[in-house]
Amino acid sequence: MIATEIESTSTPGPEAGYQVKLQVFEGPLDLLLFLIKKKKIDIRDIPIAVITREYLDYLSRKERLNLDREAEFLLMAALLIHIKSQMLLPREQPLEPDIDPRKELVDRLVDFQKIKAASTLLREKEDEMSHIWKRTVLTAPLPEEDLDLIEVSLFDLAESFFTLMKRKQSENQRVIKGKEISMADKMNEIVAVLRARGVLDFLDYLDAQETLEEALISFFCLLELIKARLIVAIQEQLFHTIKVWPRKDAAPA
């Protein structure tokens, strides 16, 4: 993902102040569409040379990108150059419109543009719906007065975790291709799940993780979140499962 500063406007107004708008390009098609719009180019008749130069300029101006994403951006650059070379090749007959080497790219761009338009409209609907409440949203809040609740210690958590590890190990799973999971992603995921469901069963959640490694990371994330006092782990009764709740007094993220 690369970001560029599109416009920085100092909108006059009492509280508006100085605003910087950041345009984020999610992918190569996104960037291409932006360049096409900027150059006021007709999407059906793209001057490939111009757009390729713009595109490569853009890439070289950006310093290090995320490597995964860089590959995607470079793939598009290669495609653009390929199309250009196709158009330069001498031919005995002029190209017919339906075998224009640009056609596939144009179709993809138009389709992508459609998806972007749909996203915009869905975002409006999401916004409308966000002000409307149904009775379903009331999830059980953390029972406060209930004194039977036992806030569990690290050892209780660790013990349940080791039980789970043993169980997982016996499944004799083999990971063929590991996937990279970052703590930050996992924590966000946990917070998101808690927001959506209100409560989470500690063991079930770890058990639902695909791999041992992912379960491990989830465990650390849970500990980290407990330490940061964003969530609280509670055992409703002795020998019952441990549940995790978002802390009420936690500052909203």
Partner: protein, 178 residues
Amino acid sequence: MDNLKEIIEALIFISVEPLTAEKMKEVLTDVPEPDIAQALQELVTRYESADGAIRIIQTAGGYVFSTKPAYDPYVRRLLQIERKKKLSSQALETLSAVAYHQPVTQSEISAIRSVDSTYALHTLLENKLIKIVGRKEAPGRPLLYRTTEKFLTYFGLNAIEDLPSEEELRKLMQEENS
């Protein structure tokens, strides 16, 4: 039946999930269908035009009570919710791609967006906005995804046909291009 509207009102009231017209018919076996439809319509209109804070919305093929937008700040205060969580732009884009191309595979979505969409799909699955509906009969037998009923309720759509039409999309694209 004189109090048909009130009966339907009671049925919708006790339903936490959107109540479908079919379900109403099951309860009101001896009432002709057009009568139910008409009573429903009148009921919806009555709530809409009344001063109250409640309305009936049609979503995911059924009817359900909801608050009117004006009361959003107070409801949020009660629920201690700062702001409703919104989908990230990546997730939303991925979701639109699924909605318009379903049933669709991960690699097809990634091709449409020109960006690897594995993670975004994972998030959407977790939020139950999409579901796995099977495998495609293609090399590797990749998983196929579709939008869920929760997707419809989330965006306040009654059916998948209510997605913005080709024309609406084209209009928006033209506006943006000019």
